[in-house]
Structures are given as C-alpha cells and as structure tokens.
Amino acid sequence: MAMATTSKDIAVSVSPHFDVGKIRQDFPALHQKVYGKPLVYLDNAATSQKPQAVIDTVARYYTIENSNIHRGVHYLSERATLAYEEAREKVRQFINAREAREIVFCRSTTEGINLVAQSHGRNFLKAGDEVLITAMEHHSNIVPWQILCEQTGAVLRVAPINDAGELMMEQFEKLLTEKTKLVAVAHISNALGTVNPVEEIIRLAHRRGIPVLIDGAQAAPHLKIDVQKLDADFYLFSGHKMFGPTGIGVLYAKSHLLEKMPPYQGGGDMILSVTFEKTVYNVIPHKFEAGTPNIAGTLGLRATIDYLDGIGMESIAAYEKELLEYGTEVLSAIPRLRLIGTAKEKVSILSFVIDGVHPHDVGTILDREGIAIRTGHHCAQPVMQRFGVPATVRASLAFYNTNEEVDTLAAGIKKVIEVFH
C-alpha cells in the first residue's frame, strides 16, 4: 500500500483490498509534472484520465482494425461490426438493461438528452404540459427542455434544493401533477456532488404514470448503475467521464419508448430501405444511430467497462467514500473555507469558496502548484445563484486520487490564503 500513511492529523482507514498505487500505474497521464510539480489531477467531474487499456484499444482499432460497420462483407468490416455490437452488449451488462437494443450509442449525455427532448418530447408533449427538473441540473439538462418548451408551448418547472444542496422531496412531489409529462433529474449533481434519491423520484413519478429521464453523467464513474432496479425510463451517461474516450455516450431507454419515438437524425444505417417516395426506418437501436458512429470510441468504452469491472464499482465506491470523508475533514478545517454542497448522500466532489478570494484566483494559484481543479459555474449557473456565489472552486476526485493529493490541495489552498490575506 503506497498511500494514506502520511495523513498525520486525521486518522483514516483505507480499504484493505484497494491498491491505489497499483491503479495509478494504469493511468499514464497521472505521471507527469506541470510547472515542475507532480500533477495532482482533481478535475474528474469535467473529464477523467484514461487507463492504458482504453488508449491501447483505440490505437489498435485505428492501427489494424479500422473499418466501417454494418456495411461491408469483408473481414475487417465483419470484425468491426461484431466488436461494435459486443460493446453494446457490454454496456447492457454494465447498467443491467433488459436488452441490448435498449442501448443507443450517441455522442455524449448532452446529445442523448437532446435526442429524448426532440424525439420523445416533441412528439408526446403539447402546450400546457410540464417538464419537471431540479434546481441542481447541469445546463445540459435544462436547455434542451427550454428549447422543447419553446417549440411545444410546454412549461418547465423546477423543484427546489435546500442549503445542503439536497432535493426537497416534499416540494418535488407537490410539483408532480396531472400536467407533468416528463421528469428529468441528475443522478448526481456535477456542481455539488449530491446523490439524488432517484429510485424514490422514479417511484413517485411512475405512481402518476410519468416517465423519468436520469442524467447519469456523474454517476457512471462512481456508482453501480442498475436501470432495472431504478426502473428508469431514460438513463444517460458519457464515456469520457468514466475513464473512456470523448465523443461517445449512451442513451438507455426502455424498448417500448424507443419503439414509439421517431428518428432523431436521418442518414445511413438508420434505414431499412429508401426510395424517393418512402423510407422504411431500421429497428431500434439502429433507428437512432444515423451515419457512421464513433466506432473507436465505442470500442474504447467497452475497454473502460472491462477495466472498471476488473476493479468493481463497489470497491471504487467504498474507496471514494473514504477519500470524500478525508477530503471533507481536511478542507473543513481550513479557516475562511466554506463547502458548497454538504448533502448526506454525496460522491467525492468538493465544491467550495474561500472568503475574500475569487475562485478564479484560487484556480490560478493552485494551477502553478500542479493542482488541476475547476473554477467557475460548472455549467450550473442556477446552482451558483441558489448559493449566492458567482462561482466555486471544485475538486472532483476519482478512485485514482489519494489522501496525499488531498493534503497537497489543502497546502495549496493555504498558500492562496497567504497571498490574499
């Protein structure tokens, strides 16, 4: 065990079977210096680093496997098609979907939400209907619904959050009415780290016959996802936030919903036959995958799932819980620092502000210490407004981060306070 032995002030127990030193060896990007300091990468909620296995998979595809899918009869095309569909099956297992055809590959969580808004929303919502979201959503789970509302005359409703950054369930339930036609909620808040009670949210909505979309972009790298247990109607996540490539995302939707939804984009691969008079669309999920997809990204996503399976999402969650507890204790002990987002249920995202220092200045000073964090509104401006801050500093930790890195962050913050006070 290479870690946690220098955390002098606060006693921590570390998962005995979780060898973070060994895991770090799998991520080449972690072993570099910036400004002459070892990189401390704490911007995982923006995007995560990639294990060598994922990088190798993508490189191998372009080196020797490159071919289009669902088209050629030749060897490489057959192999690529097979691998692509195996990736779909891998994703099905990863989130425990009923069938592989319920897995639609898209560009990102953002694109998936837009797909649902434009295909499902635009066809099944009308003027006066309501879409219910929460006050902690990322812009990607706000703006697509605003666009939909402009197009259909539907109304966007927002369930409030409390001072800890938790969804206020009583108010949420009150906002579920006969007008509500869709609920769209983040599984985990990117700005606050709050884990929403999505199972309960879905149960309450389903009791009234309302379908629920879950934005799982921040959940996929932290939690075991089971879409059947949740009974989610739509569930979305992105490859790049879970140690996979950029440009690949997943839309899970129940097959009966996908069957009823019209195509989002037209093009190749999403058709069975085309004449100038009539086009017959392909079956699901292909109906929603127009054009040549991100094949390398899809194979990379499969590799990242294999990698995560090798460690186990339960082990990851257990280790990150300790990391979060340690980080919370260390940061809370710094005078003038205020944590934003103190939900009882949260993942290893530490958003904070420092009295008298703008987050952007914090970010600049930490950067020169080799510490990569995010400053700003985190694409969640309404959350910033809710807490009355223009921006926060956000350290978002992954399972390859260590208590020593938390200590480095704390030392960097103390340096910031020295400069400014």
Binding site: H360, R368, V419, F420
Partner: protein
C-alpha cells in the same frame, strides 16, 4: 526569487482588489456600459462623466476576480482627467502589454504596468482587459452588454 504568482498578484493589485477605488454609482454619468466575462463570471458596470472630450469622472460597480477588480479600480484612477484619445491610446498599450508581455510601454503605463505579469497567464488576459473593453463601449456609447467571449 519572485515567482510568476507573485508577479501576477503584486501588492498594488491585491490592494486595489481589497479596497477598490472609484467604486459605486456615478451620479450624472454621461454614459454607462456593462461588461461580462463568462469564464469566471466577472461582471461590472462602468459609469463615465464626460466634459467635452475629457473624462471628468469615472466609477465602476460589480464583482469579479482580483485581476478584474484591480484592473477596473486602477483604470478608473488612471483615467480621471484624461482625454478620450489618451484613453484609447493607453488601452492599446495596456492590451499589448498583457497579451505579449512586452515591457516597452511600461513607462507610459505608469501604475498600470503592474499588470505586466498577466501575460504569463493567458486565461487571465480577459480578466485584466474586461474593464478596458467596457470603457471602450462606454466611450463609443454602445448599448449592448460587452462580453469577453
């Protein structure tokens, strides 16, 4: 050894950030402009009172990072009594200094030369120049909000 951080956050900049000069609404302003830097959420309103071609008084309001607040504060202190043409000329010099790091203009820039360290931090250039872009809009009496994007 003076680090790049110390060069960026010079005493005078920290001081103007902590106690911004010419802060608040300007009664009788002849023009006004708003500036916004979406990257860090810096937001400021600049009030200018012109007397012919001379900037008789200038004040600002808003919030932002240390660099943007200090820049607005020092800019207003510097510009009082200057002509529009002088202001435009000094903006060009200031902009050249924070983008390229050339110190050739330091003498003319006087106190504003404190911002020379900004050039080593490319993402912070917008913070330093926000108040100046806003000034330009106020002098040109543009109605819409100025954004650094």
């Amino acid at each position: 050894m003076i680090s790049e951080i110390e060069e960026l956050y010079q005493e005078v900049i920290l001081d103007h950030n902590k106690s911004p000069r010419n802060f608040g609404i300007l009664a009788g302003a002849t023009s006004k402009a708003e500036g916004y830097n979406p990257l860090c959420g810096d937001r400021l309103t600049l009030y200018v009172k012109m007397d012919g071609d001379v900037i008789r008084d200038i004040r600002f309001q808003g919030s932002g990072c240390a660099i943007s607040v200090a820049s607005a504060s020092m800019m207003t202190a510097y510009l009082k009594g200057k002509t529009k043409a002088e202001a435009q000329k000094i903006f060009e010099r200031f902009h050249r200094m924070v983008t390229t790091g050339t110190n050739g203009d330091a003498e003319e820039l006087e106190s504003l030369a404190a911002f020379s360290g900004v050039s080593r931090f490319p993402v912070r250039i917008k913070c330093a120049s926000l108040s100046w872009h806003t000034l330009k809009a106020a002098l040109e009496k543009k109605k819409e909000m100025v954004s650094t994007e």
